[in-house]
Amino acid sequence: MTGEIGQLALCLALALALVQAGAGLWGARAATSTSLDLPRQVARMSAFGFFAFIALAFGALTFGFVTSDFSILLVAQNSHTLKPLIYKISGVWGNHEGSMLLWVLVLAIYSAVMALAVRGGARLTSAALGVEGLLAAAFVLFILFTSNPFRRLDPMPFQGEGLNPLLQDPGLAMHPPMLYLGYVGLSATFAYAAAALITQETGSHWARAARPFMLVAWIALTLGITLGSWWAYYVLGWGGFWFWDPVENAALMPWLVATALIHSTLATERTGAFRSWTLLLAIAAFSMSLIGTFLVRSGVLASVHSFANDPQRGEYILVLLGLAIGGALALFAWRAPGIEEGTSFEPASRETLLLLNNVFLTASAATVFLGTLYPLLLDAVTGTRISVGPPYFAITFTPIFIALLLLVPLGPRLAWRKGDLAGALKLLAPGAGLALLAAIVIFAIHAPHMLAAAGAFALAGWLMGASVVDFRERWKARAVGVQSFASVLAHAGLGISLLGIVGTTLWRSEALEVLAPGQSMQVADTQLRFDGVTPRQGPNYFADRATLEVIRNGKQIATITPEKRSYPAEGQAITDTSIRTNGFSDLYVALGDDRGGGRWTVRAYVNPLAPFIWFGGAIMALGGLASLWGRLRPNAVRTAAAE
């Protein structure tokens, strides 16, 4: 029964999305009378209704998963009665169909909030709801025709096939919802930008209306990427935290463009500068989301050829992508000449720095875009297969991003329109001092061949020192409120993450040994004594649990228990690593293969400063939250002035 309820709810939601699109766009027409009030209200009501029906469909699917209703094909393929409840629920989005339904649910939430808030005036909201309705309809159609989560299975099996054990993890249960909150949040920004173009109200109020949505999206993307990287770190068993894998890049591209967008919007809101550029960025940011969705959801990444064998989903998204991006760009090209750009500022001003931020972020995003899509295109066009791995990004992305990081501290210190460059540099002297000190210390202990290391630490010192200066200056003007600390937090988080990345890349120690019970191994300053492996049974897996004593300076300080788990229902095995952290450095131990006779391979790492990577990500997100805080209070104009 639940399957039919879900199916019906999806169909009704589709109808409402179409009504929302039609009424919203109709209500966007300029009119002096109140005759357009009705379509506008219809669009708003449809948005609420759409949310209700999508929530019902999502609830029905979740109910199917929780009650292990194996008459639903998707549940049978992705669930199992023995799975813990949290993974039955996260199993809803641990597969293609369910994750697309989650995508649409998040879209419905944003739509409903847009309808509730009516930001930026009735016409703009109406048009934005219309555009959002079009997107909603397109995605519900995609689900109904190519990815129906409610397909039945007859006869119904007694047991499900279970969920990929790698996904049975609290980090990964949270990761997709967070990432989608980011991806889809950019659809709201996109809708407002398109609405501004449609209604020709391209001043700064669309940006003000869209700002909270882009901040929520940016915060969610930041946290989503941080969570994903943390998950990869502790699950994949060798301590890496970023792989330049296409799936990661798919999330990084929208993040880079969204970061550019939240910066350029500052100028658009405050002085009306860069109007057309900000509109274009809003379109580009959501385009990146769509491209990311295409990459991850079409199967094109596994192989261009597997995509060609089962092209239905990929082709649909590709068409959708073309229509959304092409349509928005055409709209932009049509309206752009009419956009008034009253831009006037001195070269030494915050506007200039925000523009430079956008130059480098755009180039970084283009680099990730090329590195991710070029191998696919090359294979499709010429049949030549190449790999674009970390060395490529080290040569292209890294220098561009370093140039950006060098400039980060300068922005907040320059005034709008006309700033004082010499004064700003004088203020930032402590930051430069810290950078110099870091460089000298690292240079001294690492000898000259580690010039790059000295430079990297100097950069981290520069960012963090400058954040302290930023904090001091903002504190003087603290009457404005929490939001004025947004840049302090976001930029400091960047420095902290950088410190973590550099520290763990440079100073990681690794040891791989085969140990018999009673034997020890050494990694950095830590000794690990292997006390053997005992079997253990989990709710839906069997585990071999190793016990190792951690000994430092002759003293036993802890016991750790890395495991190898095998999941009989899924027929897969994973490593469950043990990580012991003191906040500054991780001891990371993974259990390898059984070598017979009680001997096991043990992999151990000491990753200095690794926790900073994710800690920095969380601080960056806090910065976004601080900015959002000010937007949601009534005196938003004063807020805009504060940043």
Binding site: E346, P347, A363, A366, I386, D525
Partner: protein, 136 residues
């Protein structure tokens, strides 16, 4: 906080000096082993997504790690070994794509975009400056 981090870093560094990495199948000569690790970081595991030979736990990756060590022990240079692997598996095994006409766009694209954005930046700033001076 910085000082604590530095201190932690220093301690780790000194500890590191007295300790060398080990692997069950490591080459005896540590310089050769370093070369082997370097090489396996530059090569891709062909059966898994996005991992290098260094990181992968796939059987094929283990075989290739053995292959690399055997060739290094036999006195071949890293480039020779790479060439042999490329001949067998194609460019796809290299983590760093080669620079040839097919990849010019890949390699120069980022800097081309940077240049274009930089040019637009210069024009916009120059115009804004002119507007600003006119208002004064």
């Amino acid at each position: 906080m910085m000082r604590a981090a530095m201190l932690a870093a220093l301690m780790i560094l000194f500890a590191q000096a007295s300790f060398a990495q080990t692997r069950p199948d490591a080459l005896v000569d540590p310089r050769l082993e370093t070369r082997a690790v370097e090489l396996q970081k530059e090569l891709r595991c062909l059966v898994c997504q996005g991992q290098s030979l260094d990181e992968s736990s796939a059987p094929l990756a283990a075989d290739l790690r053995h292959f690399i060590r055997a060739r290094i022990a036999a006195g071949q240079s890293n480039d020779q070994i790479k060439q042999e692997l490329v001949a067998r598996y194609g460019d796809v095994i290299l983590m760093q794509p080669p620079l040839d006409p097919e990849t010019y766009l890949l390699w120069f694209g980022p800097f081309l975009v940077l240049f274009l954005c930089g040019s637009v930046f210069a024009v916009v700033v120059a115009r804004a400056r002119k507007n600003s001076r006119r208002q004064d």
